[in-house]
Symmetry: C2
Subunit: 445 residues, 2 copies
């Protein structure tokens, strides 16, 4: 992409109403624009990151054996009357009346609708297990939307739903998502810790939140330090195999959110030097809730013995748009965002220090073409802005690498390559820089 044709409206001043760093940086770097309280437009750069996060979430759902579909944003109120949640949900649910005076709502979650879909087609033990997900916009009418996309009202969420014959099979679906989530967050450059959690309005008796640690986290969390050192299971996990040992390994040590915290147990189970208490951000939440919805909504299948019984269900959410805030909270410095390579909107920034200078233009064009061809998605700053503004903007938007091409360096056959995360700089020939970037030979740790 050439910046002169693109649209990255960076702000010079820090927006005064943004309380946390990710919100400030998302506004300043031209990723989002607020359209109403807790409702954001995703500007081109922010949209690219959102799609990359979404795609990683999708790939790991697919790998775990879930099938993607898409439910609508609006739902008939009657579905929620069946489950009993229409009255329970309170003011967070956005209630809507259409022109024919029918009650609709903007879905805050989809347990009811997916149960309706399942029961319409699946009647036999042969029809389970089913593991279905969608990635769709949701709405929760937060009384006080804040922290930018971290607690917005219209937000993008991946929610999966499992339908199983019995509790044992349901546990296997739960484990699939548990493991998929660990891999998902690792690919996003995040260190996540699963913690026993309260089930809240979703219900059920088995539930884990996936928490990333950040000073600006919304709630206090407590865990064993060793959990922070455990790597993700890895993409070669066999999801059809027994996942229980992987799950057990990560649930044996103490880890709890504020609501579930038991100070006595924490002290008894965790040696003092291993006790971590910190602020955390919830990025995923999984629930096993048995027959809570299948019973009132009559989602039953005939078992091999001929008897019909309600299916056992679970639901599994990842906050896709919220993750962008979480990633920035975990990865930034005073100059701006530092994107992990997996979600960076562009892979390399090329700064043309003197557009119009034939040598600079030619070198930039060479770099742009070669890096495009190598799949590095370069962003070329070909604007007339002054050098300081170009450097500041490139740091602010946080692409992993920068190539600076100016007339003085070119005379000596050199360009400058900068690694955004470490700040380390290399004077290289253009060919060297291109080759090493194309081959992934710089550490962006």
């Amino acid at each position: 992409m050439r910046l002169s044709r693109y649209f990255i409206p960076v702000l010079k001043e820090t927006p005064s109403d943004a309380q946390i760093v990710s919100h400030r940086l998302m506004l300043r770097a031209g990723l989002i624009r607020q359209e109403a309280a807790g409702i954001y437009a995703w500007l081109p750069l922010g949209h690219r990151v959102l799609r990359k996060i979404e795609q990683i979430v999708r790939e790991e759902q697919d790998r775990a054996g879930a099938a993607e579909m898409l439910m609508p944003t609006l739902q008939p109120a009657d579905l929620w009357r069946e489950s009993g949640r229409y009255d329970d949900y309170g003011q967070e649910m956005l209630r809507i009346v259409d022109r024919h005076k029918r009650d609709l709502l903007y879905g805050p979650t989809n347990e009811e609708m997916i149960t309706e879909i399942f029961r319409s087609y699946c009647r036999s033990y042969k029809d389970v297990p089913k593991l279905l997900y969608h990635i769709q916009w949701k709405f929760r009418d937060e009384i006080r939307p804040r922290f930018g996309v971290m607690r917005g009202r219209e937000f993008l969420m991946k929610d999966a739903y499992s339908f199983d014959l019995d509790e044992e099979a349901a546990r296997k679906s739960y484990n699939r998502m548990f493991v998929a989530y660990l891999n998902t967050f690792a690919r996003l450059g995040l260190k996540s810790v699963p913690m026993r959690a309260d089930t809240g309005p979703i219900g059920g008796d088995l539930s884990h939140e996936f928490i990333i640690l950040a000073d600006t986290g919304e709630s206090e969390v407590f865990c064993h330090a060793d959990l922070l050192e455990m790597g993700a299971p890895g993409l070669d996990v066999n999801f059809d195999g027994d996942l229980q040992p992987l799950v057990d390994q990560r649930t044996a040590l103490y880890a709890a959110t504020e609501e579930m915290h038991d100070a006595d147990r924490f002290v008894a189970e965790v040696p003092e030097h291993k006790r971590v208490s910190a602020r955390g951000i919830e990025v995923g939440h999984i629930f096993n809730f048995g027959t809570k919805y299948s019973e009132p909504m009559n989602a039953s299948v005939a078992h091999p013995d001929g008897k019909e019984r309600p299916v056992h269900m679970g639901s599994y959410g990842v906050g896709v748009s919220r993750l962008m805030g979480g990633i920035i909270e975990a990865s930034h410095d005073d100059n701006g965002i530092i994107w992990p390579e997996s979600v960076a909107p562009y892979g390399v920034g090329i700064i043309n220090m003197r557009p119009g200078d034939a040598a600079c233009d030619a070198a930039c064009e060479t770099a742009y073409q070669a890096l495009s061809k190598a799949g590095k998605e370069p962003l070329l700053d070909d604007t007339e802005d002054r050098a300081g503004a170009k450097f500041a903007r490139m740091d602010l938007i946080g692409l992993p690498y920068q190539i600076v091409i100016g007339p003085r360096g070119l005379k000596e056959g050199k360009i400058e390559l900068k690694v955004r995360r470490s700040g380390e700089k290399h004077d290289l020939s253009l060919d060297d820089a291109i080759d090493r970037l194309a081959e992934g030979k710089f550490a962006n740790g």
Copy 2:
């Protein structure tokens, strides 16, 4: 994908309330499920087609130089009060009140919001041209939703918006979208004809609808037969060059929708044997509306002479979800859907005639692995259903090719390959079939 783990709930009976063939086939083939009047869930197979259509639309927008972003589904009513459309829009606009009694609406289109975004950041002639698009769910509260996704209430639309210094520059943006649309529809396997159209509630003086012909089309259209024979401009068009000749070539001959039709001109301009009057489906609509929104909403830029003037705008829509219905209307037979290869949910169906038979299972696995590796996205029917049901389902869901693997054929080293569109069948060795499919050596015309 293995069918035994997937979710394609085909219906045996034809739904009685579906009036047109695309609606019937989408329900029968398990592509969609109605959740409320004009509101559909996209089941896994339908979701895959939707994403493929969306991706082709996206690629052609990008090629034409448009930058993708994403605006939210909900909009503040105040924006529409600024443009004057809040009261004009009538009951088709879904109006919503949030918990703090603020007026919101579910966006039916985005002229107001994108104008607000543009004016917030762009003030100078150096900031134009801008060509921005998003692909987002919209809502129009149709009084009588019908024809399935062809006239739903919640629908997926690509809408682009252009901002230019003056009328001449605006015309260039218009031409970019005009040409991009012809290529888009061609890639979707559709023959589209641009027709002068009424501008309706969007406004402006220059507008074209892109129409595909189908017996079940919603409105009557009239055009010169030669327009149906003109190919698309092709993907190697230089969008930075002069597109006017390409546009002129396609607008010189008579073509008009019902509202714009002039019977006298039709007779005068088109020789009798070239007069086509037919039913058409609108799949795209482009508008050049000058300063209709920029003036009331104060979206102005300083010109080189220092004076501020309102920018000239256009908007450009493609009905992404509606296109699925349009493609099926244009491509089906008595047995079901016939997907063009570009949007087929899977590229090849493999039917295992006897799951559990070692030779059949092994051959199917070989085909599945080899075709997956070749990027052909196979769907393997490994279910226990009887042969007739398998054949009928595979025809119904309309994948371009089918490989049938049974014990009798295998004994002679043969499998059957069927081309869905022509019905033509080939007895081949498995290796031959795989090689020829991988190399794209069967005509699916």
